[in-house]
């Protein structure tokens, strides 16, 4: 029924150009969907808001790095979660090439770094300090890594710098790249069974915080230029000798033709902003409550009317 109403509104809006202030194009707005839940639900939330606004919306599953190229070409209209740590580089590269615009930040801050589930602390009480972690490296050893500890980094295409950091800080760890986020969760899940200590790559906001309570390892604090200037950070001769920024941005990006083609939708996108708890809540609806993403978006919209009411025109 809901869909029918939306279609009707859309139809009415497109038939009466005078009533609509800014005549958005009838072409569908294409929203990319990646492989983690909060992004999928958030995309559906914004998609449903735009449908209320009378826009046609379509979703497309894409790679989270390659998407910036697609946004630039206009194949995809927007990207709702640009994580500073994970996608900052791809986003900046696309900005330089042109075709993509920065539509502002969410209230949420992001952090991604080495992380451990709480039970790890029993085996290595000095945590979260990175020095303490290094002192109990042997606790994290596996059959394959010998007497060094194992750190499970994110997939290679996330372009993390775990290896560089291990070298820069002289840590007794071997960096192993997981092939996918699924592989990371599989590892934590397997470790949970016998409370085996593990240290893996993780990020916030993320559903994992709700399933496995844990903490980030505290590395030397991030300073600007740590990834470009060897002099920055404790090791004067190495890059990546700091932790990742503890308060990274979470941006929205759009194709630069969007404002002209769908002005009112663009105006909404500019106002959209979510906080960490809101994003975690979205992920939870899917990951813990097992709702389908579009259903989760409906539930979230229903429960948070006061958040988004003012965004609509």
């Amino acid at each position: 029924m809901n869909k029918f109403k939306l279609a009707l509104t859309a139809g009415v809006l497109s038939l009466s150009p005078i009533s609509a202030f800014a005549a958005d194009s009838n072409d569908p707005i294409v929203i990319p969907i990646h492989n983690w839940s909060s992004q999928i639900v958030m995309s559906n939330v914004v998609g449903q808001l735009l449908e209320m606004n009378g826009n046609a919306v379509e979703y497309v599953t894409t790679d989270s790095q390659a998407v910036y190229e697609s946004v630039r070409l206009g194949d995809v209209t927007m990207e709702l979660e640009v994580w500073e740590g994970a996608f900052g580089a791809s986003f900046r590269a696309a900005l330089e090439k042109g075709g993509i615009v920065d539509v502002g930040d969410h209230d949420a801050v992001t952090r991604e770094d080495w992380w451990y589930p709480m039970w790890t602390k029993d085996a290595c009480p000095g945590l979260p300090s990175w020095k303490a972690l290094n002192d109990c490296a042997a606790v994290f050893a596996t059959a394959e890594t010998g007497d060094k500890g194992r750190y499970l980094d994110g997939p290679v295409d996330w372009l993390k710098h775990g290896q560089e950091r291990v070298e820069a800080l002289g840590m007794d760890f071997v960096v192993v790249n997981a092939g996918s986020a699924a592989a990371l969760w599989a590892e934590i899940g397997a470790a949970e069974a016998d409370k085996r200590p593990v240290v893996v790559f993780n990020w916030t906001p993320n559903f994992a915080e709700a399933v496995w309570p844990g903490e980030f390892v505290e590395f030397p604090a991030w300073e600007d230029g740590c990834d470009k200037d060897p002099a920055v950070g404790p090791n004067p001769d190495a890059l990546y000798d700091c932790g990742n920024p503890a308060t990274g941005y979470l941006k929205k990006a759009a194709w630069d033709g969007m404002e002209a083609k769908w002005p009112s939708a663009y105006a909404i996108l500019e106002k959209v902003s979510f906080t960490n708890p809101q994003i975690a809540e979205m992920a939870k609806l899917v990951d813990i409550d097992e709702l389908e993403p579009e259903e989760a978006a409906e539930v979230w919209l229903e429960a948070n009317k006061d958040v988004w009411k003012s965004w609509l025109n």
Binding site: T62, A66, G179, A183, E290
Partner: protein, 658 residues
Amino acid sequence: MSVETATLPKSPRAYSNIQIAVAFVAAAFGLTILQYIGLLPAWLHRLPETIIPNFAGWLDALFNFVKDDLGLLAFTRFLTEGLEWLLDFSANIFFGKRRFPNVGPIPWTAMAAVAAVIGYYLGGWRLALLGGGTMVWTALIGQWKIAMQTMSVLAIAAPLAFAIGLSLGIAAWKYDWVDRAIKPILSILQTLPFFTYLLPAVIFFKVGPTAGAVATTIYAIPPMILMTTLGLKKVSPEVVEAGKMSGCTKAQMLRHVYIPSARTEILVGVNQVIMLCLAMVVLTAFIGMPGLGAKLLAMMGSFKLGRSFEIGVTIVLLAVMLDRMSKAWVIKQPEHFERGTPWWKRHSMLLLGIGLFSGFTLLSLVVPFLAEVGRGQDLSQGKELDNLIKGFLDIELVKATTGFLRAFLNVQVLIPFRNFMLSIPTPAFILLVTAFALALAGKREAVFALIFFSLVALSGWWDRAIITLYSVISAVSLAALIGLPIGILAARSEKWSQRALLVCDTAQTFPSFVYLIPAIMLFGITDIAVIFSILIFAMVPLTRYTIEGLRTVPEEMTEAADMAGSTRMQKLWNVQLPLALPTMAVGFNQAIMFAFFMVIIAAFIGTQDLGQELQRTLAGTDLGKNFVLGICVSLMALTFDLTIMKWAADKKRMLGLA
């Protein structure tokens, strides 16, 4: 008839191939020993970075030239629009995307009824049950819409692949030069890892279902071409003569004589097209193909193993259903009716299908459940399955076994083996491979091996190529250790042969990605999980060809052995196995090809080989690098393919089996 005498054709030259090969191996040993005692100069161990040509850069320049300056991008984007219209059309029919012609979605009950009727028409009650049952499962488990998203793309991609493959196949049969031009391209296409299809598809055909459809189509074309040419070549001269005598034009000859006579091969090609399309379902999700694959990736991404498992079952059921139906179509001969049979009788199945279809469509207007299984009405048991799987992994025995395998196989066998392979100097390794090709196949193959592996060395990805090769060799060896005995045991009785072949058939229809799930769950992110997933995949052809080889040993031979009073063991070792060896070699070759294919997909678990780098290129627009990596895999696979197939063919001829 021992193996040695058979592989030693007398060479007229001074040195036989074997002698040269032995010399190569000796040289390789020398180099490796020098490396171990530290006397080998570094430039002989690995090619220095400075002399490695910038293939990726050149290719990138070439691609950009073709893409932008020659306007290929504009052209493909133009094609994309046409393709998009087709996809939107089928998307509307299958799952009701709001596009022209705005009639869909078809109610699931109507679809299930039609599937059952088609099944009945092709293969009786059992296929009817399979067809209808698959559809009912998909709907009741709550995956109808995503399954139809997948089907809507396949419904375009598979016919496209069929049409293109058929025309190219006809062209290759008609004109010799087309055949000669197409053959090498086909061999490369068939060994090229699939990640290499994905990136160009995105760049040229836009992220989303269009790119997915294009990658799927291209991937599925080669067997169609091969089967078409094969079928047309086999048409008997008598039939052709008959056609000519009745005064057929060229087009009529093709339409009414050649194609009907080559029907079986062409339909086998259709079966292959469908299976390859399904194999792409999950992998194209990386480039925006909607449907089951995308959902599976998302579910695995949030570690919902139960739901992933359910989606895996749906994919497998669809694959088995389409496979069985298209195979039944191959066997089913066209029906002929007597003159004067009433129209409705000749088309009774068609009428039944239409009747049920409209019946259920109308009924679903009254009963919404029959049109769409709503939220919360499905029978998905995701959470319960999750707990079941977790419980299984928690059993002490399971933990102890996987723990032991990790500790023993990984640390004692696999890792030392990998380090050993990495320690062999590049030139020594190339010599070894060349010697292998020379001893098994001959000079021509040896030259190819030399050129191919030298190119891999020049690509600058040598270490990763060796790690890829290490995974392939370890997995295939382990698969042989398990698969061959199973094959030999099963081949002892007709009944067990049939059963084992059925299992192999079914396992082969599983989309490759499905094999990764148990591997990750059991072994985590280790080499052993990678090897394990390749192993199950590669074991299938090994077992199947062993059975087929042993079962087709001429009866005279086994009887002769029986009469000579040999024991069962003697008969097996001295008669059956030597005679079955060429067929088994074909299986071995296929296992290697499967392994090369799977090792790249295993990047999803986490590897350090070419697959990992290929996966990394997917995140960008590095077409050049993507291609170089893909070609590396292809060259290595081709070396094995050429060598083993030549050996098997020689051997067959020598044994008089050809």
